[in-house]
Amino acid sequence: MQTIKLKIKEEVTSGVAKIPVEVDSLTPDTLAGKTEAEIKAVKVWWGNKEENTGDLFDVSVEGEAGSAEEVKIVLEGDLSRVKHIGDGMNAGEIEALGDVDMHCGAMMSGGKITVKGCADCWAGREMHGGELVIEGDAGDNLCAMYRGEMTGMTGGKVTVGGSAGECVAQNMAGGEIEIKGNAYILTGLNMKGGKITIEGDAVMPGADMTGGKITVKGNVRDMIPSFRLEGTESIEGEEYKKYTGDLAMTEKKAKGVLYVK
């Protein structure tokens, strides 16, 4: 087991402009088997300049790892301008001790990321597998597809301790999302598959959905009118209204299911 601590240097984040750092090159897959000196030499983008990890982060390494599964990366300091944490990772673990910037866990296919704070937009974007835990709030487009793409999240599990922003899981095709708080407008927009559970409230969930399942345990505001009430069903001992839709996508395609209290 190997633990790699990366503490962002204060001078990196203290500037007026707050230039973002992109760390998609710092995953357990890429760092496994590397020495401290080698990790310090890995290139990361800081704004439009490519820098050495060692110039932007204090690096410390404990233990040894034979493969990515045995690597845990701990990110410390002010991470609010650190983007692409765990982007594309396949195995191992990343822990971010604070709020993180956009694209955390984007395109990940395995391993686990824990954010001990809030995550900005596009967390879990186009995720294929693995687990993403955001203890605070998530921004817009959580687990959605990037602009223009046809498919969002296809697999894996995402848990949000707080609330999530707009267009959660747009074009989602598989996997599972659990939001403990509220989800803002258009959760599951154009969703094709997968499962979303919202413990709190939701606004206009399931618009244009053609597959998958959304459960809203709190209140639904502005329910989409093109859903059909099919009856009631009991989930974990509570009664829910079961709707199918979105019939705006034609009767034939309206295979989505929406449970509302």
């Binding site: 990037y146 223009g148 793409e149 046809m150």
Partner: protein, 564 residues
């Protein structure tokens, strides 16, 4: 053009226009032009490597309103092909709709030095030229769309061919265009009413047929010494059974006499127009029927518009066709009307080897190339990006050169290829001389650019040379593809622009445009009608219409005198 001397030594040269078929030969360049000999040159050792003139693409959509709309509405395409800037190059992005920089670099890396933008809406000519200026390295030109135009249709109706000639002359000058482009004549006008039309249907708003429009424009074009013939996207693109319409279109202009020793009609992306069957269920290849026609007649040339499997962005002035495609896929679609002139549509499309229809389409493009006997009648294209991005040319070259590769590829396709396409039964393999013809010799000749130093390496030609890192004996399809994707050297106007597959210099390209010279009296008479159109219908005034010289900072003018 750069000053100084260059000697390309001991290459195996393929220069079909000058009849050079793989001879070991030196090429001398001084001040950007090919010369007999040089005294104190910089030397490039091309020992045993394939040397050809710079490639000339006859039909590609690389600049203008619809290309840019394609980029804007396909951000997901922009994610592909991203390459960071270098000391020389600006950043690249995009695959089927690459940014302007990537367009220039990628063509140059494949050894191309001239590309024709195949469809310029006249009203958007400024935008087209702005993008052409932004494309590094490549010499370029653009064909204005003149067929669904109200003025054209009115003159065709009244039979005033001289006035029609005066009109197209004025439009080609006003747009800094190169020739006459025709796209689904009548059909784009009908699309303004939610309809489409075939070759002999009447366009009710103007009481003319597409056949009359094509014939009229062919006659008007040949009234000048135009370097290029009319360039036609025939009616009913992509409809099963359309091969009859394509053949009938060729027959229309059989009697028209060419101004120069060239074709009187170039039909483009002929793959999309060689379809048999009555619906997508019994859809089949009719490439053989089209190839037979081309083999038996000398007045028409074609480019193949061959499919590259994978995702692409379709874009054309053929608005109704794009709508039909959108109805099949249900993916995003956008559409545009260009006032009195033309229109356009764009939708993404995935060509899949698992689809029987796409499989047959894939076969047709290659069948055309293999069944047309004389390569001087045929050009290699993918109708970029409609049948696939231009970056797929090396794949096509390797297919045409290797029966083995075609057979291996056919095995991965839908089995319908063995029943409803001829490709698996064709044994012909292209040699390098024929490849040089369909990628530079024929295209330069069909565009009339061989008289202006393009597509060959004779004394006086432009110093545009591609040196491919392969021996002429190479038979391995994979190695052929690799060699044609990234040159050992690309030389443009005597300057090395690509070395070992990397862009090392990015000079600006020239824009070629034609000035048809029309009698003042005819022009004045035509102008009365044209100004009336501006006063009543155009959203811009007459005085603000023509493209100013400033939009073409590196001009190359070709004068086309009146003949009769």
């Amino acid at each position: 053009m750069v000053e100084g001397e260059l000697l390309i030594r001991n290459g195996v040269v393929y220069d079909p226009i000058n009849g050079v078929k793989g001879e070991k030969k030196d090429i001398c360049i001084r001040d950007g032009k090919v010369v007999e000999e040089v005294k104190n040159p910089k030397i490039i050792d091309a020992e045993g490597r394939v040397v050809m003139p710079g490639g000339v693409d006859i039909h590609s959509h690389i600049a203008g309103g619809k290309v840019n709309s394609g980029r804007l509405f396909r951000p997901e395409d922009g994610r592909k092909g991203v390459k960071a800037r270098t000391k020389v190059c600006r950043p690249e992005s995009g695959y089927s709709v690459p940014n302007t920089f990537a367009t220039g670099y990628r063509y140059a890396r494949m050894g191309y030095t001239f590309v024709m933008e195949a469809a310029m809406p006249p009203l958007a000519a400024r935008h087209t030229h702005e993008e052409l200026v932004d494309i590094p390295i490549l010499d370029n030109a653009a064909l204005p769309l003149l067929d669904n135009n109200w003025m054209t249709m009115e003159y065709v109706k009244s039979g005033d061919m001289d006035l029609l000639a005066a009109y197209i002359a004025w439009m080609i000058k006003a747009t800094k265009g190169f020739g006459v482009k025709i796209v689904n004549p009548g059909g784009t006008e009908m699309w303004g009413w939610g309809k489409n039309c075939s070759l002999n249907d009447t366009v009710p708003t103007f009481d003319v047929t597409p056949a009359e429009i094509i014939k009229g424009l062919a006659e008007a074009n040949e009234k000048f010494d135009m370097p290029h013939s009319i360039h036609v996207h025939t009616n009913m693109l992509g409809h099963p059974g359309n091969f009859e319409i394509t053949k009938e279109t060729y027959d229309l202009v059989k009697g028209v006499k060419a101004a120069k020793g060239r074709q009187v009609m170039h039909t483009t992306h002929t793959q999309f127009h060689s379809y048999g069957g009555t619906n997508w269920g019994d859809f089949e290849s009719k490439a053989d029927a089209i190839a037979d026609y081309i083999n038996q007649n000398d007045h028409a040339t074609i480019d193949i518009g061959s499919i590259i499997l994978g995702d692409t962005t379709t874009m054309t002035a053929d608005g109704p066709m794009e709508y039909s495609l959108y109805q099949i896929t249900g993916r995003k679609w956008t559409n545009h009307d260009v006032e009195l002139e033309t229109g356009s549509g764009i939708t993404p499309f995935l060509y899949s080897g698992k689809s029987p229809v796409n499989t047959i389409q894939w076969a047709i493009g290659q069948e055309l190339a293999l069944l047309v006997k004389d390569p001087w009648k045929l050009a290699l294209t993918t109708d970029h990006p409609n049948a696939g991005p231009f970056i797929g040319y090396p794949i096509l070259i390797s297919m045409l050169m290797s029966k083995k590769r075609r057979d291996e590829s056919a095995e991965d396709m839908h089995k319908v290829i063995y029943d409803r396409a001829a490709l698996p039964s064709i044994d012909r393999e292209y040699d390098l001389n024929e490849i040089a013809i369909i990628t530079r010799g024929m295209t330069a000749k069909a565009l009339g650019l061989h008289e202006h130093g393009k597509g060959h390496l004779g004394v006086g030609a432009d110093g545009d040379v591609a040196i491919y890192d392969m021996s002429p004996e190479e038979r391995d399809a994979g190695k052929i593809q690799k060699a044609f994707l990234n040159t050992k050297y690309t030389i443009k106007g005597g300057e090395i622009v690509v070395k070992d597959g990397e862009v090392v210099a990015t000079p600006a390209g020239k824009t070629y445009f034609v000035t048809p010279e029309c009698d003042d009296k005819l022009t004045d008479e035509m102008m009365v009608k044209l100004k009336d159109k501006f006063d009543h219908y155009y959203s811009v005034t007459f005085n603000n219409y023509a493209v100013q010289d400033a939009y073409v900072p590196n001009p190359y003018e070709i004068k086309a005198p009146w003949r009769s």
